[in-house]
Amino acid sequence: MRIQVVIRYIGMVLQFIAAFMLASAFVSLINDYDSAYYPLLLSAFLTALLGLFPLIFIEKVTEIKTKEGYGIVVGSWLVACIVGMFPYLIWGGEFSAINAWFESVSGFTTTGASILNDIEFLPRGLLFWRSVSCWIGGIGVVMFALVILPSIGRSRHMLSNVELSTIAKDNFHYRSKVIIRILVLVYVGLTLITTIALKYAGMCWFDAITHAMSACGTCGFSTKNSSIAFFDSATIEAILMIAMTLSGIHFGVLYATLLGKRNNIFRSEIVRTYIGMMLIVSVAIAISLYSNDIYDSLSEAMRHSTFQVVSYTTTSGYATADANLWTPFAIVLLMFCSVVCGCAGSTSGGIKVDRMVIAAKVVRNRVKQQQHPNAVISTKIDGVVRDDGTQSIVMTFLVAYVMLVLIGTIINAMFGCDLLTGFSAAIACISNVGPGFGEVGSMDNYSELPAILKLNASLLMLVGRLEIFGFIQLFFIRSWR
């Protein structure tokens, strides 16, 4: 592996991040030079310098190998999280080194978990940077860099191959260059529409932009301590639900729907399962809440259950109610949503509906195969046969996911977490949902966890965001032939 090639591309990603830090510093500037102005400006300078330095020596490379591609993607995420700490650390307040790392990883991995007890105390510049970090993270640091940064040429193909999982690319029937354009067009377009809609629903421009970025990145960072409950507006909740739901759908399918093509959201089996699952779970939770007298009316129960289900399924983590106070049945269903999550090729994390559908069909086919040993049974999604390789990858992913959740829970329990907190925190972090249950519920935060558990949580977030194998691969890159 040519390490200098990896360093050059990470450098380009850093310049891109520095530009967004500068944009956040501009937000500070127009807010009467708030206290985040100098931290953001200095962070932008340091990040830009770190990014530019390799370009002085390393010349342009047009061809990169798969191994280097992995190095660039995983390295970019890690380095982005490290430089993302700078504004928080320099600003101070509640941000110790561990807290700043946690907040930065949580932002870039679009988890949306926070260590802040008083979010509203943060200056606007820093709040904007928080939202920007999850917006960049939503579509993937490298994906963004590929579109914006010029002259990468043929290496685009390799990087998009690494950044997008095999399943995520299924619905794209285009070349890599076009895929990247589609992703960014849909993402930016969705963010703009959500911003305008939120503004007209009663938010100020600042809140509208930050919440739109956070919703489209399926992150769930809010500018308010009580999250979306602060606004107490059914219109705002409806807009955010639509934005989150759309962000949880494969961007290629959204693009195809916009262009009126055949493989649209109405015909997609995966999207139907995704929407259907959210509807059924929402109704079940609403009935449970109403029958247990948690809400006075069924409509109120439905309003809160739907928002929470959409928020957990799309891995956003916004809250309009304290789900910790809900019935055990509702909590288990929300945990199920945190495991399944959105569709592949979207900004959401977790196992993804695609994998769950394939896994369910593999199990069904296995039963059929036992009944009819000579039958040739294929696994189809939207009429397309999934080969044994894909099925094997999906099953391996599920096993790895379960193992990591168990390891995460054991580590959490080892350092004093109760079972509900430890288990739900492990799921919430690896699926990039953010809020769990118990001490890390939707109206609480991760500030009370010991430093070692914050590190454990941030590691799980990174592993989840890089779809498990992307991260693990980094440690075996030397033995990779």
Binding site: I7, L42, L46, I56, I90, W91
Partner: protein, 276 residues
Amino acid sequence: MFLQKLRNHLQINTISRRMRTAFMSIILLLIVSGAMSLFELERVSHDTEEILTASKTNVDLAGEMISALNEQNDAMIYMAVLGDESEGHRISCNHSISHLSKTTEAARQRMLNTDNPAATDSLIIHTNRINSLAKDFLDKRVHLYLLEESERDTISVLNTQTWYADEYKTEYLNVSQQIRKYMTGTNSTLGPEVNRLSNTARRAVTPVFISLVVMLVIVLLLYFFMKGYFINPILRINRSLGDFLTYKMPFDESIPSRDELATLRDRIAQLIAKFK
């Protein structure tokens, strides 16, 4: 044409330009981190000065209140207990009344900007009370002067001693206690300021620390690049040239960059080709 020239000029494609840019980057980083720490230290210094000034002003005010109160008390002892009616005590008493009013008002104004604006309320009430006692006493003394001398002595001395012991002395002790409370209370109001100072001090160190870490990374990168792009290619060219001269092995070295070293390699190859 001009743009092409400008582009060529800005391109960092020679060894000297690369080295210059690399060192300029490090110098720039040093300057910025230095400026940043100076800026933050200036803030720490400003905050420290603010806290010290606030503390000093509070102590000064409390001191002035105590001396005004004592001055008033002394005058009262002379006039009310010892029956000394000299004009000096009257003037001293009047002066202490106005001084005590001014200092308590100043203390109230200072506390208005803190987290506990009502902290001086009791002090103000007791000060007003003792001042009005003193004023009433002075007014009554003027009235007494209008009486016959024999009547004046018997009425005034007996009554004023009792008045001093029962009323004035009690209020004097109350005011003293309130001033003490004010002194200790103002110290606790400085707590948030001290916390802010502590945060600012941490913030003064953090940018420098982060800049140092970045600089360390850059220096390591510089070492890595210098080794990979300058030192190793020179060593390889040298070894390859030596192999050619000694064993007539073909001179074929790849250079990772397109700078003077690549030109040197090409020229050596041309020279070898010329003498073959």
